[in-house]
């Protein structure tokens, strides 16, 4: 995959280093529930210290995969290794893995303290050491003053902290998080996202998290696996997933995107010319060898499109239309521009000027342009 990064990579990330040993190795894992194939031969390597996200819509198999890692479910076929050991047939209670459940699954009959202590008691850790660890965990998540409360006396955010403290208490090498922030409101969620990342950097645990929230995945992850219909569609860094999606599906799942269908008409160096509908000619950077005539889609993110007031007449990567809709979001505004009867192009512009001085308004004609390096050519 082509990567356009300006900076020189200082050190190889684990997943780029062929000598690195994966911490978690999932090999050809399938899981069948009756007639339904929830996971279809999934293979994946996750490295130590990663914050890895499984991202996908509901029913894509991401939670199933997480449960297989936790040992709460067994794969129908395939193997799973954790830290070099084949754990496929090892039950949950003997795996060096802890999980934070989507519903938090706090024991309702135990205090916060007892919940956090639960895993340590199973380990037969001496009492003094146990108390110390519990205190450490409660401090870490700032829930010391809640220690005597029961789960139903806690708010959603507090429960989430307790659940996290409980899953961290045993110092697992691998922590699984199932929609960890799903039940929180936006403000608390953003706050917790950063805290989770800080925590992960501090204690160096490998995190695998499941989420349907792309923003959450983008903020927190070292890498993201986008899943669909029981398969992994793409694994890459957040930047890679966002800037270089490998299919229409990934491109439209993460953020919003303008997809222009067309056919490859020429190749010039590492650029291709794509003829789109309505006489639109596009010049895009593309390192993939594509035969002439290949049907492709050019994917351009709304914020990569710029307004070009001085542009006159048709040109490459240029569309003209009428502003139909403006969504003012404060920092940016989203413009829907009707370029042909059946085609609306979305463009995001930063609100550099205050709203009153905005030049582009409803009904106005707008010419828009993008650069050949600001998009990808997709064949899938």
């Amino acid at each position: 995959m082509a990567r356009l990064e300006d900076r020189e990579p200082i050190a190889l990330e684990a997943w780029q280093d062929p000598r690195a040993k994966p911490y978690v190795r999932i090999e050809g894992v399938s899981r069948r529930f009756g007639e339904v194939l929830a996971l279809n031969s999934v293979s994946l390597d996750i490295y130590q210290g990663e914050f890895f996200s499984l991202l996908g819509g509901s029913g894509c198999g991401k939670t199933t995969l997480l449960r297989l890692l936790a040992g709460l479910d067994r794969p129908s076929s395939g193997r799973i290794w954790i830290d070099g050991a084949d754990v496929t047939d090892i039950p949950a209670y003997r795996r060096p893995v802890n999980m934070m459940f989507q519903s938090y699954a706090l024991f309702p009959h135990m205090s916060v303290e007892a919940n956090v202590e639960f895993g340590l008691r199973q380990e037969k850790m001496p009492r003094a050491e146990r108390a110390e660890r519990v205190g450490e965990m409660l401090d870490l998540l700032h829930i010391g003053e809640l220690r005597k409360r029961r789960p139903d006396q806690l708010s959603g955010g507090q429960r989430q902290r307790v659940a996290l403290a409980r899953s961290l208490a045993k110092h697992p090498k691998l922590l699984l998080l199932d929609e960890p922030l799903g039940a929180l409101d936006k403000k608390l969620r953003e706050h917790t996202q950063f805290e989770l990342v800080k925590l992960q950097e501090r204690i160096g645990i490998t995190f695998v998290t499941v989420t349907h929230d792309q923003e959450e995945a983008m903020t927190m992850s070292s890498r993201i696996a986008v899943m669909d219909a029981g398969q992994i569609v793409q694994v890459d860094t957040p930047t890679g997933i966002y800037e270089f999606p490998n299919s229409r599906l990934v491109a439209s799942f993460i953020g919003s995107v303008n997809l222009f269908d067309g056919k490859v008409t020429a190749r010039e160096g590492d650029e291709v010319l794509v003829a789109g509908e309505g006489g639109l000619t596009m010049r895009m950077r593309c390192l993939q060898p594509l035969a002439l005539g290949t049907p492709v889609a050019v994917a351009v993110r709304p914020e990569k499109i710029r307004l070009c007031n001085e542009c006159v007449g048709p040109g490459e990567n240029r569309v003209t239309g009428q502003v139909q809709d403006i969504a003012y979001l404060g920092n940016v505004s989203i413009y829907h521009v009707q370029v042909s009867p059946e085609r609306v192009v979305t463009m995001t512009l930063a609100n550099i000027h205050s709203r009153t001085e905005q030049t582009l308004t409803w009904g106005q004609e707008a010419t828009m342009e993008w650069s050949p390096v600001c998009g990808v050519v997709l064949t899938d």
Binding site: F101, F107, H109, F118, S167, K170
Partner: protein, 321 residues
């Protein structure tokens, strides 16, 4: 539908009209509310409190050979004196006579053992049904409830046929060659235990099922995830969470079992001294209604005390959580 109502309420009304409106709309005037609250009270008054007062009154009387067979508490003397005669002798007798004391202790013991046995048998049953696949649950529950379709009396009689010396059980065991001569089970305490456990088992299983079927299975997954073996997860999570079900089931078995009359009478031996049977004897054979009433009230007191204690304990538990 809620929104229009809410907005109507929120509309600012002129001061005076607002107050009137509030009064008119206040809960007090809604007749449905009174019917709702009054009906159960009326029911309790008529079918619980009134009979209770009558029994209490009889327990303070003296037995007579008359119709009704007990003396009146209030009597007009010649010179317009109202005489009240309260006879506490029955209570003294119940307290002092070892026969009655033994009967109470015996009944409590039998009920306690039977409750424990019901729990021992009923818990795995309820757990099994609660964790069975969805489509199996209703049929399995049906199997629990099905015996209720036959009269209780007939079911107890059926046990005579099973337990008697040349009954089904003995014939079966002898047919297998396991025993040479029939086991004497009928008319022994064992038969009473069998009968009570059999009859009251559903009352243990149903509340336990109701409780266990609500158990959040992810809690068990969480326990396993934290390194808990299945058996320990049961002890540390399932069992404490099912405590309300255990309590409910135990009370439903224990309370009627203490006063059980039919089962000890039909299956028990002549020396079976359960208080229910004693009550029956005093009432119908000895025609001593006052003593029988006193026995009944002492029995009631014995049952109410632990019940109230449990109730308190449960609300305290509930209040804490």
């Amino acid at each position: 539908m809620n929104q229009p109502t809410a907005s109507r309420v929120e509309q600012p009304l002129p001061e005076a009209r607002g107050r009137l409106d509030r009064i008119l709309r206040s809960e007090l005037w809604r007749p449905g509310r009174w019917v709702n609250i009054g009906l159960p009270y009326f029911w309790l008054l008529l079918f619980f409190f009134l009979p209770f007062v009558i029994v209490f009154q009889i327990s303070l009387a003296e037995p007579l050979v008359a119709q009704p067979p007990y003396s009146a508490l209030l009597e007009w003397m010649d010179d317009s004196v109202l005489q009240v005669r309260l006879n506490l002798g029955n209570y003294v007798l119940v307290w002092e006579d070892e026969l009655y004391r033994d009967a109470f202790l015996d009944s409590l013991w039998v009920a306690l053992v039977c409750t424990f046995l019901c729990l021992l048998i009923g818990y795995p049953m309820a757990y099994g049904i609660a964790t069975a696949p969805e489509r199996w649950r209703v049929p399995l529950l049906m199997l629990i409830v099905l015996p209720f379709w036959t009269s209780f009396l007939i079911r107890v009689y059926a046990w005579i046929g099973i337990l008697k010396n040349n009954g089904l059980l003995n014939n079966f065991l002898m047919g297998l060659g396991l025993i040479d001569e029939p086991l004497t089970i009928l008319h022994t305490p064992l038969a009473v235990y069998i009968g009570i456990v059999y009859s009251y088992l559903p009352f243990m299983v149903l509340p336990l099922y109701a409780n266990l079927s609500r158990l959040d299975l992810t809690l068990l997954e969480a326990a396993a995830d934290l390194g808990c073996r299945p058996w320990r997860a049961f002890v540390r999570v399932t069992l404490p969470l099912s405590l309300p079900g255990i309590l409910a089931g135990s009370l439903l078995v224990f309370i009627p079992a203490v006063g059980e009359f039919v089962i000890p009478d039909l299956l028990g031996g002549p020396d079976s001294l359960m208080v229910g049977r004693m009550l029956w004897t005093e009432f119908f054979s000895n025609k001593d209604w006052p003593l029988a009433s006193a026995l009944a009230l002492v029995l009631l007191a014995l049952l109410v005390v632990p019940f109230v204690a449990l109730q308190r304990w449960q609300t305290r538990l509930g209040g804490e959580s």
